[in-house]
Symmetry: C2
Subunit: 337 residues, 2 copies
Amino acid sequence: MATIDDVAKVAGVSKGTVSSVFSKKRPISKQVTERVLEVAKDMGYFPNHVARSLAIKKTMIVGLKMPISKESTMSGFEIQMINGVIRECSKQGYRVLLDSLPEHDDPTQFSIDPIDGVIMLNPRKHDPRIDRYNQMNIPLVLIGRPDPEDASVCYVDNDNTNVSFQVGEYLLQNGHSSILFLNAADDMTVSTDRQNGLYEAITRHGKPLSSVHVVNYSRKHHSHATDYGYSALKAIYGKHEFTAVITDTDRVALGVLRAARELGIDIPGDLSVIALSNDATLAQEITPKLTSVELSAERLGAEAAQILIQKMNDLSVVQQRIIEARLVIRESCRKLI
Amino acid sequence: MATIDDVAKVAGVSKGTVSSVFSKKRPISKQVTERVLEVAKDMGYFPNHVARSLAIKKTMIVGLKMPISKESTMSGFEIQMINGVIRECSKQGYRVLLDSLPEHDDPTQFSIDPIDGVIMLNPRKHDPRIDRYNQMNIPLVLIGRPDPEDASVCYVDNDNTNVSFQVGEYLLQNGHSSILFLNAADDMTVSTDRQNGLYEAITRHGKPLSSVHVVNYSRKHHSHATDYGYSALKAIYGKHEFTAVITDTDRVALGVLRAARELGIDIPGDLSVIALSNDATLAQEITPKLTSVELSAERLGAEAAQILIQKMNDLSVVQQRIIEARLVIRESCRKLI
DNA sequence: CTGAAAGCGCTTACAG
DNA sequence: CTGAAAGCGCTTACAG
């Protein structure tokens, strides 16, 4: 590959001039510009991004720290979020680096990514990576709330407690007083939030907490989301009594529906289903159409990117945004009263 | 951020030594190693990836050139492919840079990405980017066949012609002799391949090409895949006669199913549906379960990454792999004879 | 086992 | 409007 030096030499100018032609950071006469551009084209010269990054100390790349999942593939929620991140970053001229490399303990192996900032999905409780990014002085925005709460870290999140509170309210008002909750994995802050929200709704209605039977997703026991819904319902139905099931995602609901079909359970006749989900398209295409919560995953991603880009330009920026989620009533839930 | 120089100074060694402690490329005595590591930790030093990349002329990053789609979000096929790419790259220590920046005409704006190689999804006909990467000396692997054929470019692909040939055969053997084909957009090589395959099956059975009515997806007319299936069936049903419909993807089939429900068409009683698809999970959860083609999108992605990594280590590598696809018979198709 | 120094390919004050 | 030179933070022969 031709370098800026080669071009400068052939065009008979200094490399500062070649640099300026490409960066347009200082004016270069029309003649020189044209000559340089022509030579560059002839030689197949393209500015080297890495060298440029080193010189200006910016890469124009945003890192996206994915949850560490070796086997499982991305969920619909994650995908939409990523779409949002990509869209916003592209719009502002940033590239996106997917960081899905496993965590290393060896400090020797821990090299800093070539990024100007990072968006981290689904932080865990007391996530050590938050401190590490701070220490490295890399602007960080979380998608999902930090736990414990920390007023200095940027994040966007749904109000998950409120989401499940609303769902609980809705079910209780419709006469469902025993509920199966197929929640997410228990090491995620979102799981706790949701469980609390649901409990709150139940308590308000003067029902015992035992009205809800909570199950958590486990990577060990379930190969994927749909399988989770399918095998959980099959395992539990008959053992516990419930008239409604709340699922982690629409995919889980899909599994529940299949198990119900096989068990001869009519939905929503015998059992109501609500998905804490996101994929509006899918929910609408399923029969019966799925009553579900619209989480606006794509907006979460886009707004996280927005905040991050702001913060990269002004380190003092701190923003914490709650994206509204809303319950969309469709056909998979019925009134008992 | 502390630099290698700072650490060297404080630890009282040369920066070459610090470098060696981290890269392990030459042996450093235990005492020195420990001292350097301790100082580094105290100072919060992490090797700068960009500077390192410039020095060794490698970034350990693989670029993933996405199709240029401003509005639409990634399809299930793309997502699985990306999953495959990420998985394989992670395994081999590579990061993945999503390149979804719009193409620029301005040569001045065209900077080379900080990548060691690139995987490009869905090349278009006579795709100019192929030459450009060659010119830049960046190893390239396509997912999808180059058109025109070029023995020097690496790619992985399904045998799309054969896939639709098989689907055509299957339908014809089951007595379907008029078919609606909701194909992909017409500027993609895959569309042409599929159409040819289907035509071949029809010709072999001595039927006229008019037995199949081909529609192409259009970004203008359809907001997304499901909508495409939905509105296409609604628009065409009754105007043309057909007993079976082949859809581009499972999402399109979902739209067809919804339209059918609204039109009072029983599937597969009145109309058979086959999806040229990928998402096995989804296909199995839909009622009726979808007869579909398993394209192994994830494998496509993983093998593309594998080939690319080989090629990055040995530029002379040229591989063209066809990933087998197979028709999975489920419930959405019936025999007419 | 360790150090001094050149080099990777850019950018950017500084000077004219 | 343009050039010369230092600097970005690493790696790597070369020498000892």
